[in-house]
């Protein structure tokens, strides 16, 4: 069962965007779950186009209502499992989070649930960013920044209301926080051409809540014969355990005996790798690590020293170092 997460700050246009997507038939037969931090649900009245809609009101799904979200998703999995696989059954859930939710927390909730981890595949994290207020939210709110960091796809909304220079600054800043995400534009929910940085510079973001300073940059790591998938897994799990707040995102395709694996992580949460169809691609066995607070060459050297143990030999990885 695929799950699309839709996040974004309060009033960033999540519901408007979702409403248009449903109207345009982008998510056919999707089961829509709307989470609202407030006790009185409003959004469900707007989203009448959805075939099935469920509202989780009275708490944000990443903290207070986390248990309810897990219970709801479990119920959907159960429902799906009871339907015969040759008949039409629930394949897609769209979860609109509240404006106060951190998408990474929701991924963590799904990942740490023993039932959901086997049933739910998070296909995409879409985050809406308000063209008018988005920049201020990135600068001032740690939450706004975390939401933008967790996205696969950033939708900049209300493009018609903001001057192009400030949109350019917003795009450049988003690029510096999350170099990997696809950026799209939207006006009242309908897609418009993606805005570009247009020569504007990124706004320097002040340090918040004790996170490591420094720019966020991508590093390419290639895995050679010496470093196999298992050794790489040992290294990456140690890295994420120790530096999970600095390593924002890891992405790449690795060849293993089971096939080509698509590896993806957001902060400390690693998705169960998806097995891709075989295909000759030179980008295989290359991992992109996006993060801050370290140097690119350190990452490479660390991987070699940490995980470069020769197979079937008990050689110390520290030989030749001290």
């Amino acid at each position: 069962m695929r799950l699309t997460l839709l996040g974004g700050f309060l009033g960033s246009g999540k519901t408007t965007w979702l409403r248009h997507q449903l109207h345009a038939g982008v998510f056919p037969d999707a089961y829509v779950v709307v989470n609202e931090a407030a006790d009185t649900p409003v959004d469900d009245a707007l989203l009448s186009r959805a075939s099935t809609i469920e509202v989780l009101a009275g708490g944000c799904a990443c903290c207070e209502a986390r248990g309810e979200l897990v219970a709801l998703l479990r119920r959907l999995c159960d429902l799906r499992s009871r339907t015969a696989s040759d008949s039409a059954r629930l394949e897609h859930v769209v979860l609109e989070t509240s404006g106060l939710a951190d998408p990474a927390e929701i991924l963590d909730a799904i990942r740490s649930d023993p039932v959901l981890v086997h049933h739910v595949f998070v296909s995409e994290t879409v985050v809406c960013v308000d063209a008018l207020h988005g920049l201020a939210q990135l600068v001032e709110e740690p939450l706004g920044r975390r939401q933008a960091e967790a996205a696969n796809r950033l939708v900049i909304t209300k493009l018609d209301e903001a001057p192009s220079a400030s949109i350019g600054r917003l795009v450049a800043t988003l690029r510096s926080i999350n170099p990997d995400a696809v950026i799209e534009g939207a006006v009242k929910g309908s897609p418009v051409s993606a805005p570009t940085a247009a020569g504007e510079d990124a706004v320097a973001l002040p340090q918040l809540d004790g996170s490591a300073a420094g720019p966020i940059f991508p590093t390419r790591l290639s895995l050679d014969d010496q470093i196999d998938w298992t050794a790489f897994g040992v290294w990456l799990s140690a890295l994420l355990h120790a530096r999970g707040n600095d390593v924002m995102r890891v992405k790449g395709v690795v060849r293993t005996s089971a096939g080509r694996l698509l590896l993806q992580s957001v902060r400390k949460v690693v998705q169960s790798p998806e097995i891709l169809p075989p295909q000759d691609d030179r980008d295989d066995d290359t991992i992109v690590v996006i993060g801050r607070g370290y140097r690119a060459e350190d990452l490479r050297r660390s991987l070699e020293r940490f995980a470069g143990v020769k197979q079937r030999e008990q050689g110390s990885i520290f030989e030749g170092v001290s």
């Binding site: 897994g233 799990s237 355990h241 998705q271 097995i275 020293r305 197979q311 520290f318 170092v321």
Partner: protein, 99 residues
């Protein structure tokens, strides 16, 4: 659930995806123990995986042993035993300082 050690059937860890056959999975477990062993040796810890007991057994020189179900738990156990996490970006791994 394992009736001897009471380990519940855990959700698969992401690193366990790479094995297509039981042989591959067993080989991957031995390989994981080998890498862990060589990393942990310099911290005075041992890693052992006999392929039968679920998980990896992390031991100290004084003989206490903990079973860690997956790699996430391994690093939590190691952090508890050492008092601090093992950071792969530490000077000893990136070849700076006295290593």
């Amino acid at each position: 659930m394992c009736s001897v050690c009471g380990f519940p059937a855990a959700a698969g860890h992401w690193t366990e995806t790479g094995g297509a056959s039981p042989t591959d999975r067993l080989r991957s477990r031995y390989r994981r123990a080998q890498v862990l062993k060589s990393v942990l040796r310099d911290f005075g810890l041992t890693a052992h995986d006999d392929g039968l007991v679920p998980g990896v057994q992390i031991g100290t020189m004084s003989g206490s042993v903990s079973i860690a179900r997956d790699l996430d738990e391994v690093w939590c156990t190691v952090e508890r035993m050492l008092g601090q996490p093992i950071d792969p970006l530490d000077a000893r791994f990136i070849g700076q300082g006295d290593g």
